[in-house]
Every structure is written in structure tokens, then in C-alpha cells.
Symmetry: D2
Subunit: 118 residues, 4 copies
């Protein structure tokens, strides 16, 4: 096949970031009160990694509330609570990727949504 190109690298980098944030932050103690702070620090931490153009994290408030232990009033961040949209910019290619809970497959699905030339 053809050589590795800029599009390949942009898409590959997008995958790295989603895999990384998922396995870094899943397991973090969380409650309704810390959702905002955790969303921001995940965004800010991942934004440090190479070739990130933007990253937006939102954690499912309803799931957190449902999962909170009634006695201890907190739960742990789970993959299916995470909704992440990010853009990688590599050279002049933008790759858009997403992590979103897929209810039908009951799976936190990572996908590449769009690839653009700037």
C-alpha cells in the first residue's frame, strides 16, 4: 500500500488520546459535586499531549447520581459515563474523534467521525 501519510498520523493520534484518557481516569472517585472539576482536568491534561486541537469532556450526570452509593455518596468514574469529543491537528489535517456510550452494544465506543483538510 501507499506510505504512511498525514491523515494516518492524525487518526492514529486521535486513537491514542482516547485510549489514554479512558484508562488514566476510569476508577477516579466521583460525585455530582466533583463532575465539573473532573471534566475540566481531563480536558486540560489531555490537551497537553501532542497535536491536540481541542478536547471536550462531559460526564453523564444522571449515571453518576444513579451509581452513587447511598451510604457513601460517591461512585467511580466508569467508561460509559464519559462523552468525549476531540480534534487532532496534524500538519493540515484535522481528525475528529469521539468516545460515547453505545447503549445497544452496552459499550463505550470510540470512533473517528470526520477528517478534514484545513
Amino acid at each position: 500500500m501507499t506510505d504512511i501519510n498525514e491523515r494516518d498520523i492524525a487518526v492514529f493520534e486521535a486513537g491514542i488520546k482516547l485510549g489514554a484518557l479512558y484508562h488514566q481516569f476510569v476508577g477516579t472517585p466521583i460525585s455530582s459535586d466533583t463532575i465539573d472539576g473532573l471534566e475540566r482536568i481531563i480536558e486540560d491534561s489531555i490537551a497537553l499531549q501532542p497535536h491536540i486541537r481541542s478536547v471536550s469532556v462531559s460526564i453523564d450526570r444522571e449515571m453518576v447520581e444513579k451509581k452513587q452509593n447511598p451510604k457513601f455518596k460517591y461512585c467511580e468514574l466508569e467508561g460509559r459515563m464519559l462523552h468525549v469529543s476531540l480534534q487532532i491537528l496534524y500538519k493540515n489535517i484535522i481528525a475528529y474523534a469521539e468516545l460515547a456510550y453505545d447503549e445497544i452494544q452496552d459499550y463505550p465506543l470510540m470512533s473517528i467521525k470526520k477528517i478534514e483538510e484545513m
Copy 2:
């Protein structure tokens, strides 16, 4: 020996919290710009766990700056960058514990500092 007492439980809980936060957050991408935010979210996350009376996290700014990759401008949170002081309150016992880098042993040392009755 004597039965498990409240002092044992307070001290045990202190150990749990330090072990937990260390292995949850080590590896997080970090730069000088995200230190404050990461300190706060570690505190807020750990404060959710049972029997925490207070927790204070500070990350060694100098080490972060020294470790930042010159090209990519970030590094990863390491255990030796962490300074944590926390208090567990169990029944009327307060246990004070700490995580601090021990330079001589080159080891991120967790220790129990003081135990008080309220």
C-alpha cells in the same frame, strides 16, 4: 492480641487513601499550567472517600518543570512529585498521614504522623 479498635481502623483508612490516590493519578499528563487544577481534583476526589476529614495535595513545581519534555512541554505525574497530607476521622480518632518524597531513599514515602483523640 486485642481486638481491632478504632485507632486501627483510622490508621488503616489513612493507608487506603494514600495508596489509592497514588495509583489512580500517577501517569496523568501534567505541565506547570495544570498543576493547580490537578492538585484540586485529587483533593476533591479523595475527599469523597469514607472517613476523610481533610486532604491537601501539593505537586512539586520544580520537578514538573525539570521533567517537562522540551519539545512537548509536558511530563507525567510521578509519585515523587506528590506531597499529600491527610486526616482521617473515625469515631473520635484522628489519624494524620503523609506522602512525601524521601530524597535519601529516593522513594515516595507514606507515613503515619500522629494519632489523636478528639
Copy 3:
């Protein structure tokens, strides 16, 4: 109160180990086929830490099977799948601690079970 004693340290170390292993390994991809291997490596990794006398990890096979995604045939290690028994030996004190899923509280409970003098 009295000064920190050997019993305090043994119990504190037990807490550290349980907190550490929980937050290090939760999130690991797992299936029925990898349970044995994962149990062994968690034991072997935690046994490296100071003052461990023994550690035994078992992962709930039934829960793993129930949680395995039907399409992808794996799930992730969760805290409630873990049953851990460990012994800390500090000086001549042995502290016995446990992590076990508490069904009534729906919580992976860490507890100190027994403290002995050798």
C-alpha cells in the same frame, strides 16, 4: 495519645497495599481466559511492596462472565470483582486485611481482620 507504634504501621501498610492494587488494576480488560494470569500478576506486583508477608487475589468468575460484552467477549476489571486477602509483617506484628465485595452495601469493602504478634 501514645506514639505511633508497630501495630499502627502494620495496619497502615495494609491499607496502602489495598488502595494501591485497587486503583492500579481496576479498568484492565479481562475475560474468563485471562482471570488466572491477572490474579497472579496482581499478587506478584503487590508482593514487591514493603512489608508484605503474603497476598492472595481472586477475581469473581461469575461476575466476569456476566459482565463480558456479548459481542466483544471481554469486560473490565471492577472493584467488586476483587477478593483480596493479605498479610503485612512489620517487626513482629502481622496485620491481616481484606478487600471483599459487600453485597448489602453494594461496595468493595476493605477491612482489617486480625492483628497478631509473631
Copy 4:
């Protein structure tokens, strides 16, 4: 640009796996004695994830020995100790990716090496 194609997905999946294993396992206590076991379980865990054709993990023995704390005889798995080669098979596309320590940049570099049609 053109729509997302099979090549994009293969490359994206390769990135996910490398990011995931890195942030799941970095921080694990390790010594010369547990290297083999840890290599195998990282391979076996990641091989469970979708579209993996093969994965081979090797941990730098020399670095582990050098990093082992002289008193405690262990260290923690760091990203730069990891050498990983993996293949993703998506439809009839094979993507070859690698994680290897780049000494010049002092960085654990993930890269896509080759893309083939079966």
C-alpha cells in the same frame, strides 16, 4: 475529504490500544522477577480488545534493574521501559504500530509503522 475508510479505522484502533495499555499499566510495581509475567498479562489483556491481530510487549530489563530501589528492590513500570509492537486487523487492512522509547527526544513514542492490505 473522502469518507472514513477501513484504513482510517485500522489506524485509529491501533492508537487506542497503545494509549490504553500505557495508561492502564504505568505505575505497576515491578522487579526483574516479575517482568515476564507483566509482559504476558499486558499482551493478554490488550489482545482482548477489538480488532487486535497480535501484540507483543517487552519491558527493558536494564532500565528496571537500574531503577529498582536499592532498599526495597522494586520500581514502577514507566512508559520509557515499554516496547510494544501490535497489529490491528480491520476488515482486510492490517495496521502495524509501535511504542518505543525515543532516546533523543527522551519520550515514549507511539508510531504507525506500516499499513497493508491482506
